[in-house]
Symmetry: C2
Subunit: 476 residues, 2 copies
């Protein structure tokens, strides 16, 4: 609980309409899309960088924890206020300030929705390429904070590759301008790139300058099924080695295929793996034909490809249905984000999937694996009864094994969803030869540790903590 | 001068053959390609990260300045040991450790030559796209330290966009592993991207993991001349706005055209500006035709385009001859790197060039402007008599005006060559709202300020200092 005088001061900065303190509001702003929850003391909805500067300055003086929040779509707990304090909801800062096509950049406030920005850019035949699954609702600020990407990273890279500059309120309340409005920049430390993926622990982003790209003229899609997972992996490797870089190269394992067929009655082939491949650009048709050929030569059983819009939608249906289908796998089960976005070197994908299936089997839990095979980024969903303590315990053990496997395969514990709370222990393992430097930088910029405390390596202990699901303690 | 016991200790680490202390060696290692010079105390040529770790640990304990050095092609004094101490020559660390095509990365030691790496990658039809002018001799370590790029950045980005991970010896002697071997990474602070462009002030890079791209199948080139600079700018803007992103879009102003015609007898059209445009990929021919059309519609006087290799070389000749031609402009003049790689938003290029010409005129000096119009990055060469103090004074004033103009146009003082000493005062102006954060990070990682001291904002006073040219003090 904050002292009333401070609460009053904070409310005064944003106005009473933009400060939320009701029990319901505090409760709902304690969630993001992760398994975690914790209730903040107050929610502030600033409209300007100046208001944010006042809030951060006060928070720093009074040592009040402060968590920036976009749309709350983070999957690992980044927006959960572990130590209460202030949730800074930046969704009112939603102005697209400028789109300068001939200069290949746009400037946006952090609360701009990804989908909205791309609607505006599409009018000029341009786009901001990273394609997060939550693109219709997530904010640019959140994408920058997490270094979000999605299925098109193999061709277009991640958010970090598009951030040219940004305005930030640093943890001490200073206003900083980082980066440039130019495509190139070798002038001083690239702090704008350090901020990308820092999960709100180094400051509050108040404006972002993003590089933009021309929209591809055409898209085509192929669907290839393999009865052998290794062969599917060979398909992926061969496509890349032949220099045909698709705009998306997705994989679904047998658990996901079964789930989709059961829930959506799609009649997908009963395969070990499906590859869904998209090519884009002027040569999309030739490229997808070439890719289909490569799939065939690496042992794909059935291959379909098309440039027809409706048919493309049909082919995508299965891939897009994975997440909802997994959630309906069993009646009392929910699908939770645990070990949900590891990334491995592309050629290691079959090994990783086989290992995950084995781990799931040994721990008696259900794990479906799917994701962005083209860039090595795999998603899993763990299905469990959230009211069962033993389910959580098994899941945590499985997750630990999954992450250890990923690190052995020279992978990373997070490709695009970030660390938050859910991956903190394994990020520390992965980064044990960088943690001290990370801590030094955090301490140098945030002396009082007010910015999203408890995150980015500060979390200690089990991740089965601060759960959004109250355990009923039935030890089944 | 270092105490003999420390010199002995340092020599012992690398072996007598790899420690240089002769007057001649010390003198020659005091240069890079900038206007500056200062003699170090010793040059060490380590072969392994372990040797570097020992050297840095000792340097940190004894507070000895240490400057990492690649091929010495830096244009702003980054490799000049301002405070003497150790020059750490990393050119013996020149092993390409692995090329993993299906995983889209390679791992190299920092002393690998850019051209050598691309020769090896070309065998697989892949390449590392940034294209520095010094690519035949410069090292990957140097490219990472400066965030080098070149003419293909408009399509392919800069070095910063390709660095997936690196090994570093931090200033305190700790070994750190940053980033990943995966294409995506949202796991902890992106310190590998902070290291890019840090000019050897935050540690010594001992290994780099780089993303690689498929080599384009085809290249085509167009040459367009404009009698009106504004129209040439319109041409550039229109090409980009229509979404035809060329692989290079170069500009030369009238001073450069005259210099090339005089020195190389090339008979280039006597124009206000020449655009040299390269398209690559499967649709390179269609693209260059489209681009030629756009040039015509924006008022280009003459346009040539070709996909013939010999003819392409001929068209490139003029652009590639700019630098040597400018150097032969006047007998007692040399071409120096001052204000040599500003970058502005692309549409501001004509304004910038006109302003530079005006500034040169007012200060009675000769400045030729050319560069990467497609990404807003402009190069100038200032021609002066290096023995004339007044020439240097006029040049410094002109440079100050140039940089102030660039900052007014929302540009940056360095697009790809970095800060070193030559741009330090203006980097501080550009980054005045980031300098404190930069300093905090530098102090946090390098308590004793041993890594390349005096650089990255630490330089104070005039840049006409530590000159490689001894003034003869003739005040003409």
């Amino acid at each position: 609980m904050l002292p009333q005088s401070i609460t009053d001061h904070l409310i005064n900065i944003v106005g009473a309409n933009n400060a939320l303190t009701s029990t319901a509001d505090l409760y709902t702003h304690g969630f993001d899309a992760s398994i975690h929850h914790h209730t903040p003391d107050i929610i502030l909805r600033p409209r300007t960088a100046q208001e944010i500067q006042k809030i951060v300055t006060l928070a720093n003086k009074q040592k009040i924890p402060l968590v920036p929040r976009g749309a709350g779509t983070a999957l690992s707990g980044q927006a959960v206020p572990l130590h209460a304090g202030i949730v800074l909801d930046i969704t009112r800062m939603d102005t697209i300030k400028t789109i300068r096509i001939p200069d290949l950049y746009c400037i946006v406030e952090p609360g701009v929705i990804y989908g909205t920005l791309n609607q505006q850019l599409a009018k000029h035949n341009f786009f901001f390429p990273p394609t997060p699954g939550s693109g219709d609702i997530c904010t640019i600020g959140g994408m920058v904070a997490i270094n979000a990407s999605g299925m098109r990273a193999i061709k277009y890279g991640a958010t970090r590759d598009y951030v040219l500059g940004m305005d930030v309120i640093l943890p001490n309340g200073d206003f900083a301008q980082l980066g440039t409005k130019t495509l190139k920049n070798s002038s001083g430390y690239q702090l704008e790139r350090l901020m990308v993926g820092s999960e709100g622990t180094l400051g509050v982003i108040t404006e972002v300058t993003l590089r933009i790209s021309p929209l591809p003229q055409k898209r085509t899609v192929a669907l290839a099924s393999y009865t052998n997972l290794e062969k599917a992996g060979e398909g992926v490797s061969s496509i890349i080695a032949q220099g045909v870089i698709p705009s998306a190269l997705e994989i679904m394992d047998s658990v996901c295929i079964k789930a989709v067929n059961k829930a959506m009655k799609l009649d997908l082939p009963d395969a070990a793996a499906l590859l869904l491949i998209e090519a884009d650009g002027a040569t999309a048709t030739e490229d997808i034909q070439h890719i289909a050929q490569i799939c065939k030569s690496t042992g794909a059983e059935s291959i379909t490809f098309t440039d027809d819009k409706k048919e493309m939608q049909r082919l995508w249906q299965g891939r897009k249905g994975v997440l909802p289908s997994l959630s309906r796998y069993g009646d009392s089960f929910v699908s939770v984000s645990l070990a949900d976005d590891m990334s491995v070197p592309i050629s290691r994908i079959p090994q990783a999937i086989v290992a995950f299936q084995d781990i799931a089997h040994r721990h008696g839990i259900i794990i479906g694996t799917y994701g962005h095979a083209g860039d090595g980024n795999l998603h899993t969903k763990v299905l469990l009864d959230p009211n069962s303590k033993s389910h959580w315990r098994h899941a945590e053990k499985a997750v630990d094994e999954i992450f250890r496997t990923v690190l052995k395969l020279e992978g990373t514990v997070s490709g695009e969803h970030g660390i938050g709370i859910s991956k903190a222990p394994w990020m520390k393992q992965e980064r044990h030869l960088a943690l001290e430097a990370m801590e030094k930088i955090k301490n140098a910029l945030d002396e009082n540790n007010i910015m999203n405390p408890g995150k980015m390596g500060q979390w200690k202990g089990s991740i089965i903590s601060h759960l959004r699901y109250p355990w009923k303690q039935k030890e089944n």
